[in-house]
Symmetry: C2
């Protein structure tokens, strides 16, 4: 579990470095697919990871957005700050993860008024898969820009 979060954080930071070499207009440009842009994708990844971790800690409703909207974080430097701002809480939760937490759960009312149950083990894997999926989208946009994407390889990262 921890190694896959570590993987995502490494890859995310490599994408931040990749962004350094891309004009800011391209980072903000509206694109087809996913949430529609490079910086928006990074924002969305940070948002979703943080929100689920908070919800497992019983702190904020998952659907509650950041107090500041995307537009307030819409530069590369601010996005890195946002990632760092929430990282400590996320890392504390992930590093404290214990298999005993697998079966803990939260409940949530969906749009149809039904109560849904999400186990912590399910949420953690959802968060992992969520980031990897969106990073795959960045890799297509990278090639559209004529740039080599960050490697998605999980091997050769010193994680094991």
């Amino acid at each position: 579990m921890k190694s896959m979060f570590e993987y995502n954080w490494q890859v995310r930071n490599e994408w931040f470095s990749w962004c350094e070499e891309v004009p800011k207009e391209e980072l903000l440009k509206e694109r087809i697919g996913g949430v529609g842009g490079i910086l928006k994708t990074l924002y969305h990844i940070i948002d979703v990871e943080y929100s689920w971790i908070c919800e497992m800690q019983g702190q904020i409703p998952k659907k509650q957005e950041f107090h500041a909207p995307f537009e307030s974080w819409a530069t590369l430097e601010k996005m890195k700050d946002l990632s760092n701002l929430y990282h400590q809480k996320v890392i504390d939760f992930v590093l404290a993860w214990d298999p005993k937490m697998e079966q803990e759960y939260i409940t949530e009312q969906n749009a149809d008024g039904e109560i849904e149950i999400f186990k912590f083990g399910e949420i953690m894997r959802h968060v992992i898969a969520h980031e990897i999926h969106h990073i795959g989208q960045l890799s297509v946009w990278s090639r559209e820009l004529g740039k080599k994407p960050v490697t998605a390889n999980l091997i050769r990262r010193g994680l094991f």
Copy 2:
């Protein structure tokens, strides 16, 4: 571990269904990013998963390609056949997975002549992340085609 493989197999099958409604020219069309096309991506996912599983079983070198090249499997029906053909071996390995296998390893000589060590736990997570990453690329191409992509959500799949 098992749940993330199950997730990938569910999503893969949903992409096969998605492909049913797409003209075959679009499935074969060369695209920017990833391995360059929709069916090619599915082939690559199947290839990589199967090859690593075989290598952990000591059966074939990972780099050995399928005996038949992509062109021999380049229809939706054949690609589904290919996925099914190799699935039993993959599923047997995954379902027999035991945390004790985490530290088992294989060695491989890389292009520089250096010996690399890959632990089974590392390989398994690499295979999981590999498929999710490439599926993210399919989702962009889906939107380019004006079609809704298969959901990447891991929650609400009855996996937990």
